[in-house]
Symmetry: C2
Subunit: 216 residues, 2 copies
């Protein structure tokens, strides 16, 4: 399809598409003459993902470019390809000006290490401290401790188990897609777009469980 | 304890405590003479919660005041007390300038209604559309649809089931506390502080599951 068709099919304005092309967020089309290029389904898919990251995730252009470089890196095995793409995304964490070597942070490091050992998450134990989710989790637990709401391994274990189930569903749905590149794109879209779904499902589930236990 | 002790025990500056008192976020102490008042454990607990909402949750003072009014409302049954306090909190959702009557929103409304019926969440079905989490969930699913990532009930069911489990753990831990007021305080703190823990556990679980399935 031509640029105008790409705009119509995606609902993204021509100006925005040209901006994405200039910024290298969308690969160039296949040139068919001096002034025109041909675009395909992969451009539509990529446009969808870029829009999700920029318009919904409010992710800076430079970060989007970095995430996409990993998504497109055919030299990586799937675990590292997904990992690199997801690790480049911003992580849910609180704003903090606290030092990273206070007693709460030290306790949180020990807590996460103990939790991972109890869970038997071997992959995460091996390369876990490279994962920004690991650091963000430590920071979040340190904040809880600092504010007077300390957690222990037994508090966290059942939540980690439910997230383990959710992660299995994530990958089951991802595996339906035919190529590693599409799978990596899907994982990124899921990380950006699915978190509000999950958190609001949690709030609804709390209301439901509360109604069951304590009546209306 | 005196004001100075309250500051020392909580780690919150005198100026900040006085500001919270002026704004009605912290109830006044018991007057013991013209210039001094006595504070107790309930003030320490409240200070902890206010700090969590303002410093970590970045929640506006007026919203904090509203949440606390529900937390302190002894006339409410526990379900409505928790509900009112949590519903007053900001909900995780994306910034959106989209109309609320487009086809994606209509489809998302149907999807959520169908999901709740399939789950058999009767409380949520009855009063669910009053719950801002219901609206925020509809908005999040409409965004996914609009961006070309539509979900159906079968996609969402397993995630809702895992959140149902997580909600049961939430309430189990809350019930350890002795009074409905402390339970409501705990629920609010959990909503503000625990979401980053859950989301980062999910990211770690994804990395773990990916390593298991696809190797390193």
């Amino acid at each position: 399809m031509r640029l105008a068709d790409l705009s119509e099919h995606s609902g993204v304005s021509l100006a925005t598409i040209k901006y994405y092309l200039r910024e290298g967020l969308l690969p160039p089309g296949r040139r068919i003459n001096a002034t025109q290029a041909e675009y395909d389904e992969s451009h539509l898919r990529r446009l969808r993902l870029v829009r999700a990251m920029i318009q919904v995730g409010r992710i800076p252009v430079a970060t989007v470019r970095e995430v996409l470089a990993h998504v497109d890196d055919d030299s990586l095995g799937l675990t590292f390809r997904l990992g690199a793409a997801l690790w480049a995304l911003p992580h849910p964490t609180e704003p903090s000006s606290d030092p990273e070597d206070d007693p709460s942070t030290t306790a949180a490091h020990t807590l996460v290490a103990d939790l991972l050992a109890r869970l038997g998450w071997r992959t995460t134990c091996e390369v876990g401290d490279l994962n920004p989710a690991h650091r963000a989790l430590v920071a979040a637990l340190a904040t809880l401790d600092r504010l007077g709401y300390p957690l222990d391994t037994d508090d966290l274990l059942p939540y980690a188990r439910t997230m383990e189930q959710a992660a299995a569903y994530d990958l089951d749905r991802m595996e339906i897609l035919p190529t590693p590149r599409e799978q990596a794109e899907y994982a990124v879209a899921g990380a950006v777009l699915f978190e509000p779904v999950l958190l609001n499902l949690r709030r609804l589930a709390q209301a439901e469980e509360s109604g069951r236990r304590y009546g209306l």
